[in-house]
Every structure is written in structure tokens, then in C-alpha cells.
Symmetry: C2
Subunit: 344 residues, 2 copies
């Protein structure tokens, strides 16, 4: 690239290199006329300062793309920071691509592949079933992160066992004496996280000898963003209005649990005195809400680190464990309480 150097800029302007540098860095110790002259020369000859030049080289470097399903989900924020740090450390460029709930992730990935420098892909938040078959079109390595895909053992996956962890939470609620546990669920046709956590809920009831009552399962309506405060609020209100008896709400996610708490407060109820509320994910916010939310903590940072390590190992064709399932931890907050025998 025949690019002009800072020395040539200085020569053209009849000033020293340090003056050019001062002009670029907006240093106070330079007069306006000189600064203007330098900046005009820079523009005219298309000089790119060092700092940028260094980064521009990165444009030629290999790229890792992270496709994120639902950017509004605070669950992913920490993970993205880990990805960025590790990807940069390995001298790769980092591209974050947002995928809408209704969009086809693999189509987006194929599009990114057209960029020749793409060396690997992370599907953060999983992929929808309907696109699983299309994964075979991808020519670069990829890792599906935070959701166990149903694609098969050979698909690189990092996640917690969503069904098992969900069951753990409901078993805990049952051990607190709750028998009428409502579940704020995903859309009925959800075949990802929503389905797995619902299965765990059913399993725990079965194991606890409790009947599964379809009337206590509040499904997300079509077109409503599942993992939202608004949805948690709407489903809890619908539950209250149904007149169904319950002592506890288990929500699919912490965000929905917080929405549910607010619906209870607005109806003049207390948490946990009148109703216990539990969530899933272990968001930082769960600890800051009042009352703090009882939840399942996913080890997000560890999962993010494992995801990116797995991807690099695949790129370098090292032998890998393609299916990495992490343990989650039940974190007791103040939003749930043991039910006294009298109240049952």
C-alpha cells in the first residue's frame, strides 16, 4: 500500500513530526492555523495515523463471528466480553452479529462465510431446529453455546443440562413444601431451552408424586418476546386472573421472574410472604432485585471460555470433547420461602 508516512506529512507542511502528531492528537500546544494546515494535508493525501494503521492490519487478519440470538438478553453480556478478550488475544478479529428471534441463523452464518477471512462461528443462544439440518452447509468450524442442540454428539456444544437444572430447581421448591407450582413457560412450540426446562419441571413433579396440571402452565403467546419483563408480567397476571390456586411461581428466566414479581406487587401481594417466585439463569440483576430472586446460576464466564477454547481447538484441528456440559448452582434468594404445614 503506497501510503504517505507521518514524515512526509511533516515535510509537506514544513513542520516537525511532533507538530503533526500534536495536530492529530488534538494537543492544546499547537496554533489553530498550523493544525488546520496539517489536518488538510492529512486529508488530502489520505494519511492514516499509526494507531489506526495498526488496527487496519487487523482487517486482514482472520475473523471469528459470534451470532447472538436476542441481543437484549443481559445473560449474554458477560459472555461477549470473554469472547472479545480471548478472540483478540489470539490475534483474530471479532465480529458480533445480531440475529432476530425469527431469523435463520445458518443463513446469516452462510452470508458471513462469503467473507473469506471467516475462520469460525459461535452460535450464542443456540439455533432453532428448523435450521439444524442446514448446519452441514457451513464449511468453517462452529460451536453452539448455552443450548444443548439436538443435532447429535458430534456437534460442538457448550451448555448446562437445562432439563436437569430445571428439575433441580423444582425439586427444591417441592422440598420447601410447595405443591401448586405454576410455571411461566416459553411458546408451546419452542423446541429449545423452553422445551428442556419445561421437561425438567414435569420430571420434578413426577418424581415428587405431584400431578402435572396444564392449568398451572402459562405459555408465552405467539409474537411476544419470550425472555422479557413484559412477558413475565403478563403471564403472572393471567395466572392470577385465572383464579387457579398456587403458592409458587417458577419462571423460565430471571427476567420473567422479575416481571412476575411486579405483577404480584401490583395486585397487592407480597413476595415471598404470599407467593414464592423463582427464576433461572443467575443474572447479576437477580441479586439486586428486592427481594433477591432464587435462581439457577449458570457459570457464564466458564462457559464462554470453554466455548472459545473449543472453537480454537477445532480450527487448529486438535482432538476435542465436542459436548461440554457444565454444572449449574442453585442460588437461594429472598423471593422463595418454605411453606408452613398450615398453609398447604
Amino acid at each position: 500500500m503506497d501510503q504517505i508516512t507521518i514524515k512526509e506529512v511533516a515535510k509537506l507542511c514544513g513542520v516537525g513530526v511532533s507538530t503533526v502528531s500534536r495536530a492529530i492528537n488534538n494537543h492544546p500546544d499547537i496554533n489553530d492555523a498550523t493544525k488546520r494546515m496539517v489536518m488538510e494535508t492529512i486529508r488530502k493525501y489520505n494519511y492514516v495515523p499509526n494507531n489506526s494503521a495498526r488496527n487496519l492490519k487487523r482487517a486482514d487478519s482472520n475473523t471469528i463471528a459470534v451470532l447472538i440470538k436476542g441481543i437484549t438478553n443481559p445473560f449474554f453480556a458477560d459472555m461477549i466480553q470473554v469472547f472479545e478478550r480471548e478472540i483478540t488475544r489470539q490475534k483474530y478479529s471479532f465480529v458480533l452479529q445480531h440475529v432476530e428471534e425469527f431469523e435463520d441463523e445458518v443463513d446469516t452464518a452462510l452470508l458471513l462465510e462469503k467473507e473469506k477471512r471467516l475462520k469460525g462461528i459461535v452460535f450464542l443462544g443456540g439455533i432453532s431446529n428448523r435450521t439444524e439440518e442446514k448446519l452441514s452447509f457451513l464449511t468453517v468450524p462452529y460451536v453452539i453455546s448455552t443450548v444443548e442442540s439436538g443435532v447429535g454428539e458430534e456437534t460442538a456444544t457448550v451448555a448446562v443440562d437445562n432439563e436437569k437444572e430445571s428439575q433441580k430447581m423444582v425439586e427444591y421448591l417441592i422440598s420447601c413444601g410447595h405443591e401448586k407450582i405454576a410455571f411461566l413457560a416459553a411458546q408451546k412450540n419452542d423446541a429449545s431451552i423452553g422445551m428442556l426446562r419445561h421437561r425438567g419441571y414435569r420430571m420434578a413433579l413426577k418424581k415428587g408424586g405431584l400431578e402435572y396440571d396444564e392449568g398451572l402452565v402459562m405459555w408465552t403467546k405467539e409474537g411476544c418476546p419470550t425472555y422479557s419483563l413484559e412477558n413475565g408480567y403478563a403471564l403472572a397476571r393471567e395466572l392470577l386472573e385465572s383464579g387457579k390456586e398456587f403458592t409458587c411461581i417458577y419462571a423460565l428466566s430471571d427476567i420473567m421472574a422479575i416481571g412476575a414479581c411486579k405483577a404480584l406487587f401490583d395486585a397487592g401481594k407480597r413476595v415471598p410472604e404470599d407467593y414464592s417466585v423463582a427464576g433461572f439463569d443467575g443474572l447479576e440483576l437477580a441479586g439486586y432485585y428486592e427481594p433477591s430472586i432464587t435462581t439457577i446460576c449458570q457459570p457464564r464466564r466458564e462457559m464462554a471460555e470453554a466455548t472459545i477454547r473449543l472453537l480454537f481447538d477445532l480450527i487448529e484441528q486438535k482432538p476435542v470433547n465436542t459436548r461440554q456440559i457444565f454444572e449449574a448452582r442453585l442460588q437461594q434468594g429472598n423471593s422463595t420461602r418454605p411453606l408452613s404445614a398450615a398453609a398447604r
Copy 2:
């Protein structure tokens, strides 16, 4: 591109086109052996199904990049959805690029410009002063969104008047009878949002005839992410531990206000009975917190729409109003209350 068609795939496999389609779409009505054969042929000849092919064309279309400062900020989530919708509607591709707090946005933008198809840039969350000078290196139109830049009238900007709106909030708190209003601030050297809102705080005190007390201003420590729950919590705790007298906390952002509430609760205090707490931004979460947070609502969606419209007008070289300042709205929550005369 000499790409194989679905008809050719069908011919190679000795099956009908509909069978190939069933294989691709993972239809139950096809036997496994046939499906495997079709999928292998597809892979071998590098056939890309229609749906993807359609999207791949988009890879040749023009691109708008949104550079987002602090992806963890829920304030930007709604705005991104508007950007994506409008950019796609105008038949442009949408690239979301994450910029760390310490990174240089203009360097990142220059890097993106190397991609020839880039037609415009949105700097979401503003840009730091030190990079303002470098804006002149950019050759494509850009809009600075949500922060009034100090660059000058000719720089395309969409924002609220952060100083004025901050002043509005503090005037309201003073009108409630509060005289000792602590401020949870950004880093002391912040020259963006943090400086503007701090100025508004000082202006309101001055206008209300109250003294500015440096001991009531809690500055964010270096290296601590400003707009975080953790930071709000830490600053409020530091304030409590300082022993300084105050009746109200005004936080730079809603997220920090929520962190501050939790610090008060953990110290056995009530909100608003013992202390009033106010924020800024108008996050959805502010309404779901208990108590709901008194805040300044920025019209995020309208600002996002104006940002993208302004960018397209610049691209099409239409005459524009480069400096678009929106009105924000004070939203009273349950986290603040009028101070009785006796308590003052």
C-alpha cells in the same frame, strides 16, 4: 457463480425436486437413506438452497454499521431493533460492531471502511473526545447518537439535552424539599454524558440557592464500568460509610440507581421512607423495580428513528438538520417522595 441448481441435484440423485426439498427441510416424509444421499450430493456439489441464496445476494448490498459503546447497556436494546428494521427496509445490510469503553471508535470505523460496501455509520453511545479530531478521516456519512458531541454544529447528532434534562430532575428533587442531594457520578475525567449530567446537577443546585458540596458527589473509580449495578451499589455504600448527611440520591443512570437502592436495603434502610433515589434514562426495568424508579425518560425509539433517517438523508445528500435534540420526560416512580418540613 456457476452454482448447481435444485433440479441438477435431483437429477444426480435420481429423485424428484420435491424429494430434495423434503431432505433439505428435514421433512418427516422421506426415508433416511434417500435423505442421506441427497444431503451428501448437496455437500459434494456445494449446492446452496434457495432461501440462503436469496440472503447471499444481500452480501453484495450496501452496509450500514452501528458502533455500539457498551453492549451491556440495556438502554441501547430497543434502539438496535429500530436500526435493524429500518436498515433492512432500505435494502441495506446491517452490521453491529461492539466497541469497548477504552477502545477508539474512529479506528474501528476506519477499519470497517476498508470494506468497500460500507455506506454509513452510527456511533451509538457517542464517541470520546480524544477521537473527535479523527472523525475527519472518515469518508462515509455518520451520525452520533444519544450524546451531544462537542465537535460542532455541522456534526450530525441525535440526542436529548443531557445537561438540561439532568437539571430538570434535580430541580424536581429540590421542589420535593430535598436539599442534601448526593450525586452518583461518572469518572471525574469523563467528558461525555457524565460531564453533562453533572453540570445539570450543579446548575439546579445553583438555581435553587443550594451549595454545591463536593463531599456529596461520588465519582466512579477508574477501571470500574460506570453504568453498572455494581458501581451504583459501591458508590452508595461509600456514601453511607462516609457519614455525610443526605436525604436523596440522584444516580447518573437507572442501572446505578437500582444498585444504589440495593445498597440502602442491605444497610437496613427503606426507599423512599428513609432516602429518595432517582435515576436517568427511563429503562423499562425502572418501572419493574420495587419501588419503581423516578427517572428521566429518553424517547429512545424516536431517537433511533431520527438517527437512521438522518443517516439515510446524508447518504442521499438531502438537506438535513444536523443537530436534532429531543425532549425527555420526567417519570415519577415510587422511589422518591416529598420531604416533610419536619424532616429537613
